[in-house]
């Protein structure tokens, strides 16, 4: 058993309450409240405090300045209680049960584990109960005034004493409530962090680990392995670096998504660079579809190891360039009935009021340029 000592660090008067609190394992304010109530009720409380003061040795430690506000609050509380007990007979009848219940509730709250407190704090049902309890207390208090037939002259004094007590309790409890609130806040932040971690873990599991498994299984097929790795890389990049935007709403996101699709389907890496952005409409969506066709052609027929896509929004003009360094072709040599370039790209752009230009020559690669005015 640790010896009971008066605390010099954190004392308000002589460190008796702080020492006792440390010994009993409760918050100092619980002990202080008890002494204030005892002191207000009669000489015994004060005598007890004096006895502790004289009989208990002070602990050897650095003494700090007393907190004047706390001291003032306890003094006010003690004064208010004395006034109340001195002036009316109310205290003997109504105050003691209320005080006992109140202090009991505070101690209960204080001793409850953090989890329990949090449950009490977050349960909406608990909120209801507490509000109800508060309302009952207020009504009982008001009723008490009339039931006790306090004479009209005494009302101001009673009110004053009550106000003093209430403000004292507020000042004492507030720092502790703030501390509790901060703890709750920290815990909430921690929970958010752990949720984020869980999300990252889930993402890595679903995508990266899954892809690595697939790659091991397809190790004999270099093209498929490259495609898997590339698609996983793109997925992670988008997740890490790109602003989240809805591909059904914005131009740049739609271009990126289309590129990803073609890359996945045909296994040819496509480098995409977007500058500027604007909302999608039906015509712009058609332009993206035309670009898709151009990418598919480049990936399927050009034989180039990679394709470059550049999409730009400048003012009200949209442009998409799809370029490869593949074998190229002669547009005039393509039969009229072939849908690819003429129908899906040039025709589509013209139907929507844009233009498509194809620049290609055998051996020099191909660049298709799509233009559209908003």
């Amino acid at each position: 058993m640790v010896r009971l000592e008066r605390r010099r660090d954190g004392r308000l008067v002589a460190g008796v309450c702080a020492g006792l609190a440390g010994q009993l394992g409760v918050e100092p304010f619980v002990v202080r409240l008890a002494f204030v109530v005892l002191g207000a009720a009669g000489p015994y409380g004060i005598a007890a405090y004096a006895a502790f003061w004289i009989l208990t040795p002070a602990r050897e430690e650095e003494s700090r300045r007393r907190n004047p506000w706390q001291l003032l609050a306890y003094t006010l509380l003690g004064g208010g209680l004395s006034l109340l007990t001195g002036v009316t007979g109310l205290a003997q009848v109504a105050l003691w049960p209320v005080l006992v219940v109140g202090i009991g509730a505070v101690i209960l709250w204080q001793q409850a584990s953090r989890d329990q407190r949090e449950r009490w704090a977050v349960l909406p049902q608990g909120m209801w109960w507490r509000s109800l309890l508060g309302a009952v207390l207020v009504i009982a208090g008001v009723g008490g005034f009339f039931a006790q037939r306090v004479s009209p002259q005494e009302i101001p004094q009673v009110l004053l004493a009550t106000a003093i007590i209430l403000s004292g309790v507020t000042v004492i409890i507030t720092p502790w409530l703030v501390k509790l609130w901060q703890e709750l806040d920290e815990e909430r932040a921690e929970r958010v962090r752990s949720q984020e971690r869980a999300e990252v873990a889930a993402h890595i599991h679903d995508s990266v680990l899954h892809t690595l498994t697939l790659i091991q299984r397809r190790a004999h097929d270099p093209k498929e392995v490259a495609r898997l790795a590339r698609s996983q890389e793109r997925d992670l990049r988008a997740w890490l670096y790109q602003p989240k935007s809805d591909s059904s709403q914005m131009f740049a996101a739609a271009v990126r998504e289309t590129t990803a699709e073609v890359e996945d389907l045909h296994g040819v890496p496509i480098e995409v660079v977007c500058v500027g952005d604007c909302p999608l409409d039906e015509r712009i969506a058609a332009m993206v579809q035309a670009a898709r066709e151009a990418m598919v052609n480049a990936a399927k027929y050009s034989g180039a190891p990679s394709v470059s896509v550049y999409a730009e929004v400048a003012g009200d003009e949209l442009e998409i360039f799809v370029r490869d360094r593949g074998k190229g072709f002669d547009l005039d040599a393509v039969p009229e009935d072939r849908m690819g370039v003429r129908g899906s790209i040039i025709g589509r752009m013209e139907r929507h009021g844009g233009t498509a230009r194809v620049r290609s020559a055998p051996g020099e690669g191909t660049e298709i340029r799509l233009e559209l005015k908003k």
Binding site: R237, Y241, E271, V275, R323
Partner: protein, 209 residues
């Protein structure tokens, strides 16, 4: 023969790059973090440093900050990151160019040669970022000389973004490769010296998701 130091915290990547570089490149040192990079660069005095953006000990920017004021070394940034903040940050920190790690061996060799000669190297993505950053605001430029791109520079950047090599750009615009290099170097200078805060803010805003 260009003397090069490789700075990257992945041993596997350094080995891969070493094997892929052409015979005209001599790797004189390697480093895996900021402190050892500063040490190796000071000791070997290479012409070009291949610098990873993400390094333990403060990142590539920290190496630039410690080395650039005293040494005439040129830096080429190399990264897997696509974040505008990283790309713009390292170039504004003093790197002569930025390429992604997916670049092929011959292309990287070529880029190192160009940086060694004092030219700038822009990947399509960096070109895209620059175009975006310089057009992101309608606010009048404080210093038009530094805060705006000329029409020609814009054209060159757009061709880089479209995947054109310098030689192809020269042919397309009927100018010499040397002129293309001049334009790109001038864009690099603006990117590094322009103190319009929109640039940094733009890059940071791109990061917000």
């Amino acid at each position: 023969m260009t003397r090069v130091v490789l700075v990257d915290d992945h041993q596997m990547f350094r080995t891969g790059v070493r094997a892929e570089l052409g015979p005209q490149i001599e790797v004189v040192g390697e480093a895996a973090d900021v402190d050892s990079a500063v040490e190796v660069i000071t000791a070997t005095e290479p012409e070009v440093v291949l610098l990873d953006v993400h390094l333990p000990g403060g990142g590539g920017v920290e190496v630039l900050r410690r080395i650039l004021p005293s040494k005439g070394v040129r830096f080429l940034a190399l990264s897997v990151s696509d974040a505008a903040e990283d790309v713009i940050g390292v170039v504004r920190g003093g790197a002569r160019g930025y390429v992604t790690k997916t670049i092929s061996g011959p292309e990287l060799t070529d880029a190192i040669g160009r940086v060694a000669e004092g030219d700038a190297v822009f990947s399509p993505r960096l070109a895209g970022f620059v175009l975006d950053a310089f057009s992101a605001t309608d606010a009048p430029a404080a210093d038009p000389e530094l805060d705006q791109l000329t029409a020609r520079e814009r054209e060159v950047l757009r061709l880089i973004a479209r995947g054109y090599a310098y030689k192809e750009i020269a042919k397309e615009l009927f100018i010499s490769v040397k002129t293309v290099e001049t334009h790109v170097s001038s864009v690099l200078r603006k990117l590094q010296l322009s103190n319009r805060h929109e640039l940094s803010r733009w890059a940071a805003a791109r990061r917000l998701v």
